[in-house]
Amino acid sequence: MSGSENGIERIGRRDFTRAGLVFGVGAGALAAGYAAVPDAFARAIFTARRDGVQSGAVLVMIQLAGGNDGLRTVVPLQDSNLHDLRPQLAGEAVDKALPLSPSEGLNHNLGRIRKLWDRGKVAVVQGVGYPSPSLSHFESIRVWETGDPTRRQLKGWLGRALSTSYDSYGHPLTGCACGTSVTPGALRDADSTVAVIENQLSYGFAAPEVESAVGAVYGQTPGIYGALFDTAVATVRKTAAELQQALPAPSDSGVLPSYSNDTGNALAQALKLAAQLIIRETGVRLLHVTLDGFDTHYTELSYHDQLMSYLDEAVGGFYDELVQHGKASRVLMATWSEFGRRPQENVSGGTDHGTAAPVVLIGDPVRRGIYGRPPDLRHLDDGNLRYTVDFRSIYQEILEVHLQASAGEILGGRFEPVRFLRRSS
């Protein structure tokens, strides 16, 4: 699977196999194979590939976990139905919204994102969802993570992108989750290695003898968890050393003046780390970060406003830092959430689980605009919005146009195009 794609010389995993360096083709065996590749050879491949991927596009998926209220993120400005459905929540949202058009406005706490809109860096896709929506967080998260509304696929769509279009074995930082200790479902795939970095400060071995001991012990671990263990340990051994060299010592105690004055803003912390990985040319391509707390069944006004300002500060700070270092042209951010919320508010001043919602795309690669149809509050389906854009149309556009990866193979089909990204001339 050597070949040129996007002008980048790639050496696929099958080359390892052909060279006799991998002892099997199964997922687990391959993970074992990675650890078993002779060090010098692995390093050579690693270096070669890293030179190649440095010019590559970067995707940052921002998960708004818990179900983000689309109607308070991209606010319909002219729809009286909104006020009927939400006597407590609609008034302020509409009055204070930052207009994008006569009929749509951004949440009033998204001021920095609104400024990016003015500069042509924001696209909004309305009404994103999938057929027969589940109102369960976990089922719906799974649908979005795997890209499969039939719930048969168990591997993540970004994990599949890694294993089909990248070669993360030579380079475990290609796919990376920041600010979490667990691997996000979207990046999960036994055929790819993924770095998971909760906190740069603690991402290193306590002592060299600890690393050498576990390096000797892990590698051919038996049993059903063998591949997971060995891949995790091989990945951390490779990436911890790499990051210690690549990243500057973090400045004073996690304060992030350029992002946020609020150290409770976990998204800002995660994106700060993501920015370092991009700026230092560590070779990251697919990043995943999360902002939690969107399950606003109760007193949504205060909670949601706070979350919107966290999102705004984190995204604004991240973008500015990329610009400062000349990296912004390569980076696309996309928000995702398992579902939107019920158009009608509940008795607790919050909203229950809903369906379709807008996706916001930010960065130099986007074509500014509002895509899709505005939410139709008059024709609800059992109280919830009908989706008008399949979420896989978004993935397809990102994979094909931004990452130049094989969207059809990764998503298992073609979806109606939504052209929110610039085409290179």
Partner: protein, 471 residues
């Protein structure tokens, strides 16, 4: 017993079914790997596995005489031990203490009890229910979380029906899943659905066991339950610097939720194929009437105590015994521990220790002090993906493969290093691999262990090994 590398035959590990509920299962790949050879033919190994899974791997002095008894008698003795109450954290003589309780104090208090309890199965089950009927310090005050912990322990091996009634009107749960803020008295205003949905989806029936209309009906039927009114309001100093005071709520003792009839729904609902005026009892009874409930809980218990992909037959059998016992939670566990799959070769090392289990068993193995262990847990738990009383979301912690990532493994290794550094003297590691790992080592662990020339190094290899991270 040392396992030969690539040459060893795969023993008894069947293909993992791909449709089972947890996505991690799909990534488990026995095909390219040899299996751990099972020592479970020996009764001693079966007892050791039972204790690892049912008791955090620590053995209270009171149980020690029982350990060389038969497997069945060990089950009887841990199930028969009851649930010892932890020492009170909030003394009745200091009524404002509850309001000043910190989350970290609560974590320390529970860890201390886990490390010292004489009824370890009850503690293990309290931990299981803590990850099942979830609530979080992120949204709920520590006092209510403390009460919840006491309640889960008291009901940990009781009847499911009683447990579910307590869960529904538990003040922390009423807060965490918003039932306390709901109100179904005005038909024009939809009640809050949060608790009603998770009660069915995550706590009892599982996805697919109910319709959206049932969520709406249960939300109506359960509205009216709210947090208990305080016994008193007291002014306390809230800012030491300025001396500023503020009123706080004080409860003289642990309370359940209170029922406010003016917030309740007065009419009939159609819920899980029954129509009528259903209150708390009516809703719980309908849930217990569904065969899905026993099966859902049996599967969850099987995934956390037997195998990440338990056989359908195992789940059915445990569910059958559970339901036949009028949903006795002790019988649920007995059915799991005595199921043939529990002791089958393929179940050996089929589960991953949670961070808590890993740290507690490691600390116990090297006889670390209680205080040091607690502080290490507070320092390392989050990096391993677990902070007590703070589940990642309402579904709790994803078990088994969900614990393994580059970041979490690193935290586990660094914890071991810190644990050993903090010991006044490192105990002898002679025989540790037999005592803690039944002598079943991979070739690379065995080789590295043989090369180690100090007790510290031997413990480092043993405690950091994949063998010790499994149960």
């Amino acid at each position: 017993m040392v396992l030969g590398g690539a040459a060893s035959a795969a023993v008894g590990l069947g293909a993992v079914k791909l449709y089972v509920s947890h996505p991690w299962t799909a990534l488990l790949d026995p095909a390219g790997r040899s299996a751990w050879p099972s020592p479970l033919g020996s009764e001693r190994a079966r007892v050791a596995q039972l204790l690892r899974r049912a008791t955090f791997g620590i053995t209270p002095a009171g149980l020690e005489p029982g350990l060389n008894q038969a497997y069945q008698r060990t089950i009887d003795s841990i199930l028969g031990a009851g649930a010892a109450e932890p020492p009170g954290l909030v003394s009745p003589g200091d009524p404002t203490r509850g309001a000043r309780l910190e989350g970290s104090e609560l974590q320390r208090w529970w860890l201390r009890h886990i490390l010292s309890t004489q009824t370890p199965l009850a503690e293990r089950m309290t931990y299981f229910w803590h990850g099942h009927f979830t609530s979080s310090l992120d949204k709920v005050d520590a006092l209510f979380m403390y009460w919840q912990n006491l309640t889960w322990r008291r009901r940990s091996l009781d009847k499911l029906g009683r447990m579910l009634r307590e869960v529904t009107i538990d003040p922390a749960m009423l807060t965490y899943l918003d039932l306390a803020t709901s109100d179904a008295s005005d038909p024009a205003q939809p009640p809050n659905e949060n608790y009603a949905r998770e009660l069915m989806e995550l706590f009892t029936l599982g996805p697919g066991g109910y319709r959206e209309a049932d969520v709406k009906a249960a939300a109506r039927a359960l509205a009216g339950w709210t947090t208990p009114p305080p016994d008193k309001q007291v002014e306390i100093v809230v800012d030491e610097k300025t001396g500023a005071k503020a009123p706080i709520d004080v409860w003289y003792e642990q309370r359940r939720g209170a029922f406010a009839p003016d917030m309740a729904y007065d009419g009939a609902v159609s819920y899980l194929n029954r129509r009528g005026k259903l209150g708390l009892d009516g809703v719980i009874d309908q849930i217990l009437g569904q065969p899905a409930t026993a099966k859902f809980l049996a599967r969850k218990v099987a995934i956390q105590f037997i195998s990440p992909a338990p056989a359908e037959e195992t789940v059915q059998q445990i569910a059958g015994r559970f339901r036949a016992s009028d949903y006795d939670l002790g019988e649920l566990m007995r059915a799991a521990f005595t199921s043939p799959e529990f002791s089958a070769a393929a179940s050996y090392r089929a589960l991953v220790k949670s961070p808590l289990e890993f740290m507690v068993s490691a600390a116990a193995a090297v006889k670390a002090g209680t205080k040091e262990t607690i502080e290490l847990f507070l320092g390392y738990g989050e990096g391993m993906g677990e902070s007590l009383f703070q589940p990642p979301n309402v579904a709790g912690w994803p078990p088994n493969g969900g614990w393994i990532s580059p970041s979490t493994m690193l935290a586990r290794f660094n914890f071991v290093s810190d644990l050993l550094d903090g010991l006044p003297s490192v105990p002898s590691a002679r025989g540790a691999e037999d005592l803690h790992l039944e002598g079943v080592l991979s070739t690379s662990t065995a080789k590295r262990l043989a090369k180690s020339d100090s007790d510290r190094e031997r413990w480092l290899v043993i405690l950091a090994s994949p063998e010790f991270n499994l149960k």
